[in-house]
C-alpha cells in the first residue's frame, strides 16, 4: 500500500476522498436533523441529468452537474416554502424527473454510456488533476459557508419557528443550506457516483448521533467516521480491486451498524 502512494492517481484519489470525507457530513448533518435526508439523493439524480447534458453538449460534466443541482435545489426549496406539496413528495418528484430526463438525454445522444457509468457509481481513481482542483474549490466553499453560518443552520434545525421569531432570516439560510447540499453533490459525483452520494452525507452523522450526545459531539464524530470510511474504503478497494464508492459506503454502514447495536445496549 505504501508504494502505491507514489502513483499520481492514488495521491489524487486520496486527496479528493479526504476532501469529500471532511465536507459531506458538514451539510449532511443539518439535512438529517431537518428530516431532509432524501434531499441529497434527489439532487444527485438531478445532477445525473446535468452530467448527461454536459456529455451531450461537450461541456465539463462536473460543471453541468453543479449547475443543474443548484437550479433543482433552488426550485425544491421554493416549492417547499410555498407549501406546494409535502417535502418528501416534492423531493421524490425531482428524483424521478432528474432520472427520466437523464434517460432521455442519454438515448438522444445514443452513446457515452461508459463515461456516464463512471458518474453513476463513481470513479475515484480516474479523477483528473484539474478535477482535483474543482473538488478542492467546492470543498473550500462548503467549509467556509459552514464556519460562517453553522450556528444559524443549527438554530433553524432545532426549531424553525423559534429561530425566525428571534430574527434569523429562515428563507435565506434554508436556501443557502440546500444550495450547499447541491455543491456537495457536485463535489461527490465524480468520487462516489450519483447513486451513492447521499450515503456519505447522511450515514456518518446518523451513526454518530446514536451515541446519544449533543450536536457538536455528533458532528465531530461523524467527521471522524466519514474520513476513516473514505480511507479504509479506498485501501480495501485498491487491495482487492473492488469498486471504491461501494467500499467506502459499506465501511460507513459498518459504523452505523456498530452504533445502532451500542445504542440498544
Amino acid at each position: 500500500m505504501i508504494e502505491a502512494l507514489q502513483y499520481g492517481f492514488i495521491q489524487r484519489s486520496l486527496f479528493a476522498g479526504l476532501i469529500l470525507g471532511l465536507t459531506a457530513p458538514l451539510i449532511g448533518s443539518f439535512l438529517v436533523i431537518r428530516r431532509y435526508s432524501l434531499m441529497a439523493d434527489s439532487l444527485a439524480h438531478v445532477s445525473l441529468l446535468g452530467v448527461a447534458l454536459g456529455l451531450l453538449l461537450e461541456v465539463n460534466p462536473l460543471a453541468a452537474a453543479l449547475i443543474t443541482a443548484l437550479i433543482a435545489a433552488w426550485a425544491i426549496e421554493s416549492m417547499v416554502e410555498k407549501r406546494l406539496g409535502e417535502a418528501d413528495n416534492i423531493l421524490a418528484i425531482f428524483l424521478w424527473g432528474g432520472l427520466a430526463g437523464a434517460a432521455v438525454v442519454i438515448s438522444l445522444a445514443g452513446g457515452f454510456q461508459a463515461s456516464l457509468f463512471s458518474y453513476l457509481f463513481g470513479d475515484i481513481s480516474g479523477v483528473q488533476p484539474e478535477e482535483v482542483w474543482i473538488i478542492a474549490l467546492l470543498g473550500g466553499l462548503i467549509v467556509l459557508v459552514f464556519l460562517a453560518f453553522n450556528k444559524k443552520f443549527f438554530a433553524l434545525a432545532v426549531d424553525p419557528e423559534l429561530a425566525r421569531a428571534s430574527g434569523i432570516n429562515g428563507a435565506f439560510y434554508n436556501r443557502l443550506l440546500v444550495l450547499m447540499a447541491a455543491v456537495t453533490v457536485a463535489l461527490a459525483a465524480r468520487i462516489l457516483g450519483v447513486l451513492l452520494i447521499g450515503a456519505l452525507m447522511v450515514i456518518p452523522f446518523s451513526a454518530a448521533r446514536n451515541w446519544g450526545r449533543g450536536f457538536g459531539f455528533s458532528l465531530g464524530l461523524a467527521l471522524v467516521i466519514s474520513v476513516i470510511s473514505v480511507l479504509t474504503g479506498l485501501m480495501i478497494s485498491y487491495q482487492f480491486n473492488l469498486a471504491p464508492g461501494g467500499a467506502i459506503v459499506l465501511c460507513a454502514l459498518f459504523f452505523y451498524g456498530i452504533s445502532s447495536l451500542a445504542a440498544k445496549t
Binding site: 436533523i33 438554530a155 428571534s166 450526545r213
Partner: protein, 248 residues
C-alpha cells in the same frame, strides 16, 4: 404612564377565507403581565405570531418600541415560548446547545458564542432550574423539563418582553404553581413584560395584572376583576362559559 412597548392598531388577519382576527386594537406597557384568554380558534396564537413577525397581517399595523414591525431589529429584546415545541424525536442536541441557540441571531458571519454569551446562557439555565440538565439530550426530557429549557432559551438574550403560548400544557399541578411563582418574580423583580396565553381564567384572575379576551374580535381588555362576570364570558365562549371559570 409606563412606556408603550407594543401597539396593535386595526389588526385583521384572514387565512383560507376565514377571518381569524378582526380589527383588533390594544397597547401593552412596560411591566405589564397580560393574560390572553379566548376559545380555541379565537386567534390567540395567531396574534402572537403576527406580533413576532411570523405571519403578515392583511391590514392593520403593529409597532414594537414605537417602530413599525418591518423596521424592528432588536429581536433580542423579545423572548418567545411557543405552544408546541417542534422538537424532532431523535434530535441530537443537548440542553446547553438549545439554550445557546437562542442567541444565534445576534452572531455575525464566522461568529461564535463569547464568554459573556455562555454566562448569559448559564444564568438563564439556573433561573429556569435546568442547569443540572445541560448535558442531557433535549429529546430525552419530559414535557415540563423541555418547557423550562425553552424558557431558558427565551431568557438567554435578557429580553424585556416574554411571549408565552399556553406554556403549562402537559405540566403537572405542582410544577405549574412553581412556574407561576417564577413568572411573578420575573415580572416584579426584573420588570419583565409578560404576555401569557391561557385557557384558564382562574389563573389569569389570580396571577396576572391585565386580561385581554379574544374571540376573533377584542372582547375585553383591562384588570381581570372587571371582567369576571358572566356576560363577558358568554360573549367570549357562548352559553357554556361557567366551566371556564375555575377559581383557585
Amino acid at each position: 404612564m409606563p412606556e408603550t412597548l407594543i401597539q396593535v392598531e386595526s389588526l385583521s388577519y384572514q387565512a383560507k377565507g376565514q377571518t381569524i382576527l378582526d380589527e383588533v386594537n390594544f397597547e401593552v406597557h412596560r411591566g405589564d403581565y397580560l393574560g390572553i384568554l379566548g376559545p380555541n380558534g379565537g386567534g390567540k396564537t395567531t396574534l402572537f405570531k403576527l406580533i413576532l413577525g411570523l405571519l403578515k397581517p392583511q391590514s392593520g399595523q403593529i409597532r414594537l418600541y414605537g417602530q413599525i414591525l418591518e423596521q424592528f431589529k432588536d429581536h433580542h429584546k423579545i423572548g418567545y415560548v411557543p405552544q408546541q415545541q417542534n422538537i424532532q424525536p431523535r434530535l441530537p442536541a443537548n440542553v446547553e446547545e438549545v439554550v445557546l441557540s437562542g442567541m444565534a441571531a445576534r452572531l455575525g458571519p464566522f461568529g461564535g458564542y463569547s464568554k459573556t454569551d455562555k454566562k448569559s446562557a448559564q444564568e438563564a439555565m439556573e433561573l429556569s432550574r435546568v442547569e443540572g440538565l445541560k448535558h442531557r439530550l433535549i429529546s430525552e426530557l419530559s414535557g415540563g423539563e423541555r418547557q423550562r429549557v425553552y424558557i431558558a432559551r427565551a431568557l438567554t438574550t435578557k429580553p424585556e418582553i416574554l411571549f408565552l403560548d399556553e406554556p403549562v400544557t402537559g405540566v403537572d399541578q405542582g410544577q405549574q404553581e412553581r412556574f407561576y411563582q417564577f413568572l411573578a418574580q420575573l415580572n416584579q423583580e426584573m420588570r419583565l413584560t409578560i404576555l401569557f396565553v391561557s385557557h384558564d381564567l382562574g389563573v389569569i384572575a389570580k396571577e396576572m395584572k391585565n386580561l385581554l379576551c379574544l374571540n376573533k374580535r377584542l372582547i375585553c381588555h383591562g384588570p381581570p376583576e372587571n371582567f369576571v362576570k358572566e356576560d363577558f364570558l358568554e360573549e367570549l365562549y357562548g352559553k357554556h362559559s361557567k366551566s371556564v371559570l375555575h377559581r383557585h
